[in-house]
């Protein structure tokens, strides 16, 4: 057992009385961390980081991917991955330098004094051990349980405390029987099992749905407040950080660029990076009036161009079925009627169970506008997108494109339809073929549809790259050499190469860092105005919706629960579920500089 922690039983208030509340619990001084690359060079990941956490306090480190926030957190608990090591500075925990500790001392400190709630709930529980075993382990490793019966009893108590009902039964289950939210609750129970004085929460909820995220964070907040645990919250979400922490530390490229009281930083960011971050954070959405005006302008231009193009006869309906045009409402490019999709899922037995992914959904999409479909995981929004793209066949109902039922399409019509409706997917790492050069990726649709000759196709590729603000020199490069945001630009360029009418964006910006996300959203708006595009925007993130959508469809469990103009949804939500979603946006209620 560690020498600094005297008690071995369950925590009592007297434990905390030994701690001087005005002396720092954790103090990081000029911390340098670097990783060794394959070629043996040292790559710094954190440089000169300073940070202080007082007992019972919540401090948040905010930054984008690659900012060094997770590296800093892992250095504190001496669990840097791979070749990472501390190359300078001090990490003082209750005055003792962690970087100089021996392995045994560190083992004594972990769990007992410093707990960890890791990032990804899916990969952080060992799939072959029961939940009960994994929670009990945390108790036994720190001498908190007298025997296995006691460990079991306490483990059940911990799970209940973390908000998992029916804890006795849960103990006997395996991780794969749990949902993401349940696993995250289990990880919180593990992190707090030995009643640490400091809890490092590394993006504890970023893999979860917003409503679950809010519940879990609320719970964590109550729990740590009751126990007097200090929390070091690592997050990419400025709104979430400001909402949960008193003190903010903003990191950028391995350095701390600004730190101080959370609300002060939000109200008056000083460093240009922080300013940029505050301005881009979708959840803080300071510029609502401004955005609304901007959107109106975009839509006006887009509608003009799109309608003109439709009259020119460039649309599919003119190619395929001229007689159908007469009956169609010219402004509605997409009409979704009673769309239903039933999946057969193989259960444990020989008979397949039925699962209604999309249930009787109807709405229309106006030419030149953006319609957002919002929902949490399992709401059926992606299945809906797949049906619109004709990548899945509906079980019932129909999709009308320019007034024509897409289900009746033969091979030729379908090919023509593909040219008019293009997708942009979520994963910027997965949507480009790694064996294709950028040039080949963007050229592929042109070649498939036999557009132009080699020279004109190259001209189109250059033009597309220019439209998405990338230099034409990237043509010769491959996807693995580009960043996530750049790949998403390439995916946009590929989708636009054929000059489609409708672009279906399936979580197109969800995997990107806020600044890049903002850039891509701006780019999409710009292209919409220039090319008269219609967007069907599938997302789980209501905060993003406000920035780009004109109309919102809220989906829950396969059903469309609310459909209205964006402002109406945000100002006067009609349904409880929509209200829950709105309330769950982190930092939604915070006042920021833009409102002044």
């Amino acid at each position: 057992m560690s020498e600094i922690i005297s008690s071995t039983g369950s925590p009592s208030p007297t434990d905390r009385e030994f701690i001087d509340p005005s002396a720092p619990l954790l103090e990081i001084r000029d911390l340098d961390v670097s990783f060794t690359s394959d070629r043996g060079t040292e790559v710094p990941a954190a440089r000169g980081v300073n940070l202080t956490v007082y007992p019972g306090q919540t401090v948040a480190i905010v930054g984008e991917s690659g900012s060094g926030k997770s590296t800093t957190a892992h250095a504190i608990i001496d669990l840097l991955p791979g070749t990472g090591k501390v190359t300078g500075g001090q990490i003082l925990f209750q005055g003792r330098d962690i970087t100089k500790m021996r392995r045994r001392e560190m083992e004594a400190l972990r769990g007992d004094a410093i707990g960890l709630v890791p990032q990804d709930p899916m990969s952080n529980l060992n799939p072959v051990w029961k939940i009960g075993h994994q929670v009990s382990e945390a108790l036994r490793a720190n001498g908190r349980a007298k025997n296995s019966a006691d460990a079991k009893r306490q483990a059940a108590q911990l799970l209940g405390e973390a908000g998992l009902g029916d804890a006795e039964r849960r103990l006997k289950q395996y991780p794969h029987e749990f949902s993401g939210g349940m696993r995250q609750r289990t990880l919180i129970a593990i992190g707090l099992a030995a009643r640490p004085k400091l809890l490092i929460a590394d993006e504890p909820t970023s893999a979860l749905d917003v409503t679950v995220q809010r519940q879990i964070l609320d719970h964590l907040e109550t729990l740590t407040a009751d126990l007097g645990t200090a929390v070091l919250l690592i997050t990419h979400d400025l709104g979430l950080a400001a909402e949960r922490a008193e003190h903010l530390v903003v990191m950028y490229r391995g350095r701390v660029v600004e730190s101080g009281n959370a609300r002060e930083i939000l109200a008056d960011p000083q460093h240009p990076y922080t300013r940029r971050l505050v301005a881009s954070a979708p959840s803080l959405s300071a510029r609502r009036a401004e955005t609304a005006a901007g959107r109106a302008e975009v839509v006006e231009r887009a509608e003009q161009i799109a309608d003109a193009a439709a009259l020119d006869g460039g649309t599919l309906s003119a190619d395929v079925a001229p007689e159908a045009v007469a009956g169609a409402a010219p402004h509605d490019v997409l009409r979704i009627e009673n769309l239903t999709k039933v999946f057969k899922i193989r259960g444990q037995g020989p008979r397949a169970a039925e699962f209604k992914a999309v249930d009787d959904v109807s709405f229309t999409v106006r030419r030149g506008t953006t319609t957002a479909v919002v929902g949490e995981s399992g709401s059926g929004k992606s299945t809906l997108a797949q049906m619109v793209l004709r990548l899945q066949t509906p079980t019932a109902g129909r999709v009308l494109f320019d007034g024509v039922d897409v289900d009746g399409f033969g091979r030729k019509e379908q090919f023509a339809f593909r040219r008019r409706v293009q997708p942009i997917f979520q994963n910027p790492y997965g949507s480009l073929d790694p064996t294709y050069s950028i040039y080949r990726s963007i050229e592929e649709p042109l070649r498939l549809h036999r557009v132009g000759d080699k020279r004109s196709r190259e001209a189109t590729v250059r033009e597309m790259l220019d439209r998405v603000s990338l230099p034409s020199s990237v043509m010769r490069r491959y996807p693995n050499e580009l960043s996530g945001g750049q790949r998403q630009r390439i995916a946009i360029a590929r989708a636009l190469a054929l000059r489609p009418d409708v672009v279906v964006c399936d979580e197109a910006v969800s995997a990107l860092d806020v600044l890049v996300q903002k850039q891509i959203l701006d780019l999409l708006s710009e292209l919409q105005a220039e090319l008269g595009l219609t967007y069907l925007f599938i997302t789980h993130d209501l905060a993003v919706v406000r920035q780009i959508a004109d109309r919102v469809c809220v989906m829950q469990n396969g059903k469309l629960v609310e459909e209205a103009d964006t402002d109406a949804v945000f100002d006067h939500p009609q349904q409880d579920y929509t209200r829950t979603l709105l309330n769950a946006i982190p930092g939604a209620g915070l006042i920021t500089s833009g409102d002044r």
Binding site: Y54, G260, N261, T435, E444, P445, N480, E481, V516
Partner: protein, 316 residues
Amino acid sequence: MSESALFEAQTRFVADLEETPLGTTDQVDESTPPGGLWLEAWRTLRRRPLFIISSVIILLLLAVALFPGVFATQDPTHCELQNSLAGSTAGHPFGFDQQGCDIYSRVIHGARASVSVGVLTTTITVLIGGVIGALAGFYGGWLDSVLARVTDIFFSVPLLLGAIVCMQAFPDKTVVVVALVLAVFGWPQVARIMRGSVISVRSAEYVTAATALGASRTKVLLRHVLPNAIPPVIVIATVSLGAFIGAEATLSFLGIGLNPATTVSWGGDINQAQNSLRSDPAVLLYPAAALTLTVLSFIMLGDAVREALDPKSRKR
């Protein structure tokens, strides 16, 4: 929460802009030369000693197999019993075997049989296994079920055992026959790996994207799925090339492989060497060493290629 900077160590801090300059969000890194998946794998490979050593040996082996006359002037089938088991003399560095044949020359000329069997068998297994695995993995459904059972059936007969049974039926044991027999029992492994690889690639978003762009099923399979599914097959092909050479030698060793009267082979010579093993182990040593070196270099090459093509080690 109105108390700002309650603690002295938490007063407002703003970094010096000089020290923390803002980069353009998301600029293109133009510092490295462009390179795709294959080019990068090649760049990784050519620096690896394992790759360099094994490919030098393999190139040498290929040269020996193609032009044995350049490396050994002696006729390997010219044997004089008076030289039986004689030690090394000038022009005969490895000495003579029991029949009085020049061992050096036999080792050199034995390369051709081994390499031909290895290359031929690997080509056939990759073609059969690759096609079956790709079709099963890509189309799924009943086709997959049927092909998976067929693969299971052939897989359930161990390579050596099946080959032993099969070889009996052929009175004329040529290189082609041995290669065909080994391929009959060798392809299921390639098929399984190809199937798994295709299944994992099939669900990638770029495959869905290609479908949405209007590419047909066949085009998607040939242009997107196959090129991305091939790396594990290359690895297994390299390693099994070595394994097939070993299997051929084992069959020859058992006396049911290549006909020793018509084909000079390492396995056959090792079989012959059994008789004089205790008196003169060197007779066994040379063909065995040649065989081991060959198999080893293919396994090392496979290892090096695996590391270079491993998706886990790829830069993201």
